[in-house]
């Protein structure tokens, strides 16, 4: 079968491969190369070595500020989202009426796109701040916590669904046996449920981590970096470097490569952790 199948490469693989080459392989290789070049358009690139990389950190503090803002935001939102999502999942796996309706409602914001989410929350937060006679872009703190609130609203339901799937996989008789042995609810949670849903916890941690780290649309719509670029996250800073003013395309591409390496490091860490767990459980 393999022999006959091999001949059908042009039909089964070629269309996908051509699109993949145009949209990914060529841009990726070009991207790495261009990060070492001085250029405005791809055709006038001149090799300059690591100049763009040092410029990324040295021309101004924008990249480093964006990095810090992104890291702080990621830590806070990953923690809050996962705690709230786990608590919701615990509550909604009990025998109460209407769990399906609650799940439906909590999950819904996840389907709304980042731009729309940004403007919804701009209205809400500005409405609250109006009482204190300031606006969202008055202080970077407001933008920061606004983004945290927005991300929580968007992702809690999503993570909750994954946690629910994990909790439902915990065998019922295990919990029953623990109850008969006199275990308290806290003990059951600590010694049975949390260890059993560890795979879900890993998945959720990394999903929220990479989603928060790569955030762009929500950032653009909510504050667009205001005031004075203090709420700019990495992805938005890279975009601004490319398209803000001409002449910094090379620096933008160097920042993009650094961004890619950070995101890849997160993903590979996740892969290693998941693999290790799988080996252990075998």
């Amino acid at each position: 079968m393999e022999k006959t199948l091999k001949k059908y490469f042009p039909i089964f693989v070629l269309p996908t491969l051509i699109a993949f080459t145009i949209a990914f392989i060529i841009p990726f290789i070009l991207g790495v190369y261009l990060s070492f070049c001085d250029f405005n358009t791809v055709t006038n690139a001149k090799f300059i070595g690591f100049g763009n990389y040092s410029k990324a950190f040295s021309i101004n503090r924008e990249f480093i500020n964006a990095l810090w803002f992104t890291i702080k935001f990621t830590i806070i939102s990953v923690t809050t989202i996962n705690i709230f999502a786990f608590l919701l999942a615990l509550s909604l796996t009990r025998e109460i009426k209407g769990t399906n309706i609650f799940r439906t409602i909590f999950f819904m914001p996840n389907l709304i796109g980042g731009i729309v989410l940004g403007y919804i929350w701009q209205l809400i937060i500005n409405g609250i701040l109006y009482k204190f006679e300031v606006t969202l872009t008055f202080n970077a703190k407001y933008g920061f916590w606004g983004l945290v609130a927005l991300m929580n609203w968007q992702l809690i339901g999503y993570m909750m669904i994954i946690y629910i799937a994990g909790i439902q996989n915990v065998p019922e008789d295990l919990i029953e046996a623990a109850k008969i042995d006199g275990a308290t609810p806290v003990q059951i949670l600590k010694k049975i449920i949390i260890p059993m849903v560890m795979p879900s916890i890993t998945i959720c941690l990394f999903l929220t981590l990479s989603n928060s780290f790569k955030l762009f649309d929500q950032n653009l719509a909510l504050t667009a970096g205001a005031p004075s670029k203090k709420t700019t996250m990495l992805a938005l800073d890279i975009y601004n470097t490319f398209y803000g003013r001409s002449g910094f395309e090379g620096v933008g591409q160097a920042k993009a490569v650094i961004f890619f390496i950070l995101v890849a490091a997160i993903a590979i860490t996740q892969l290693v952790i998941t693999r290790k767990k799988e080996v252990e459980s075998e």
């Binding site: 006959t4 693989v13 699109a19 080459t21 009990r94 109460i96 819904m108 389907l111 719509a221």
Partner: protein, 279 residues
């Protein structure tokens, strides 16, 4: 005794859940409420219901629809999403099956390349991708389908490969021995079995492409505005936003999503879970 405590706890939890789910809906309800108020009354008092002086009926909707050409945007969003998702499901399912059934160094390398592309953030390839697309004249609503197929291929091929690996090869082999060509075997035998994965892939890509902002903005945003681009465009470069039109357009942007959610809630939830586990 235990039962009593349990049921009392459940009642408390249920009340908390009711309060929380109302809180979750409030942002959307507030936007909806403000979409009927005059634009000057929105920023000041967003939490007040429309009154006689502030109520403007459907004015915001009409103004917004005219300003950003909402129905045109809706049409482009629909066109690009449907055809890109169809292309992705059609082509990557074929690729996924072929890559799993033909085992050579080349297929393994290709598989890893697709998997690798999943961890690359868009900003990494953004600039060169737009330039390449411009050169190849893919900067139109038809060309962007090719770009979505290429950029979405990673996750989709990966998911199809994962599923095909779990399928027994015997059925396909016997179909081919009976004289089926690989193409017929794929569409008559394999594809029907792949249906659950195909639905998952379709849902994940629909959610991505429908809401995607940056890629279509950079590629076709000047001439063809999808809904996210149109909404961002409403903000304009400088000066105050027309809050009335903005509220109305946000409502119109949310409605299709809620309808989609209501229609295929089960598939969406299932798709999102399996997407998360595999991605």
């Amino acid at each position: 005794m235990n039962k009593k405590i349990d049921s009392r706890n459940n009642l408390v939890i249920m009340i908390i859940m009711i309060v929380l789910s109302v809180a979750f809906l409030i942002p959307i309800l507030i936007v909806f409420m403000n979409s009927f108020k005059g634009k000057l009354y929105i920023s000041d008092t967003p939490f007040k219901l429309p009154s006689k002086t502030t109520f403007v009926g459907l004015n915001n909707y009409i103004e917004g629809i005219v300003k950003i050409g909402f129905f045109k945007s809706f049409g482009w969003s629909l066109f690009i999403t449907i055809f890109s998702v169809a292309a992705i499901v059609f082509f990557t399912s074929m690729t996924g099956w072929w890559l799993t059934r033909v085992k050579t160094k080349f297929t393994t390398a290709l598989y890893y390349m697709f998997a690798f592309s999943m961890i690359v953030p868009f900003q990494m390839v953004m600039f060169p991708m737009v330039k390449v697309s411009n050169m190849l004249h893919l900067d139109n609503p038809f060309g962007i389908i090719v770009i979505y197929l290429g950029f979405g291929a990673g996750l989709s091929v990966f998911m199809f490969c994962g599923f095909v690996k779990s399928l027994p090869i015997e059925v396909e082999e016997s179909a081919m021995i009976d004289g089926c060509t690989p193409i017929l075997t794929f569409f008559k035998v394999v594809l029907p079995i792949l249906k659950p994965t195909a639905i998952t892939v379709a849902i994940l890509n629909t959610m991505w492409i429908w809401n995607d902002y940056l890629l279509p903005y950079l590629l076709i945003g000047n001439n063809y505005k999808t809904i996210p681009i149109a909404i961002q465009y409403l903000k304009g470069g400088y000066g105050a936003i027309d809050m009335g039109a903005m509220m109305a357009m946000l409502v119109l942007a949310i409605i299709p999503i809620i309808v989609f959610y209501m229609l295929c809630q089960k598939h969406i939830v299932k798709g999102v879970i399996s997407g998360a586990v595999k991605g």
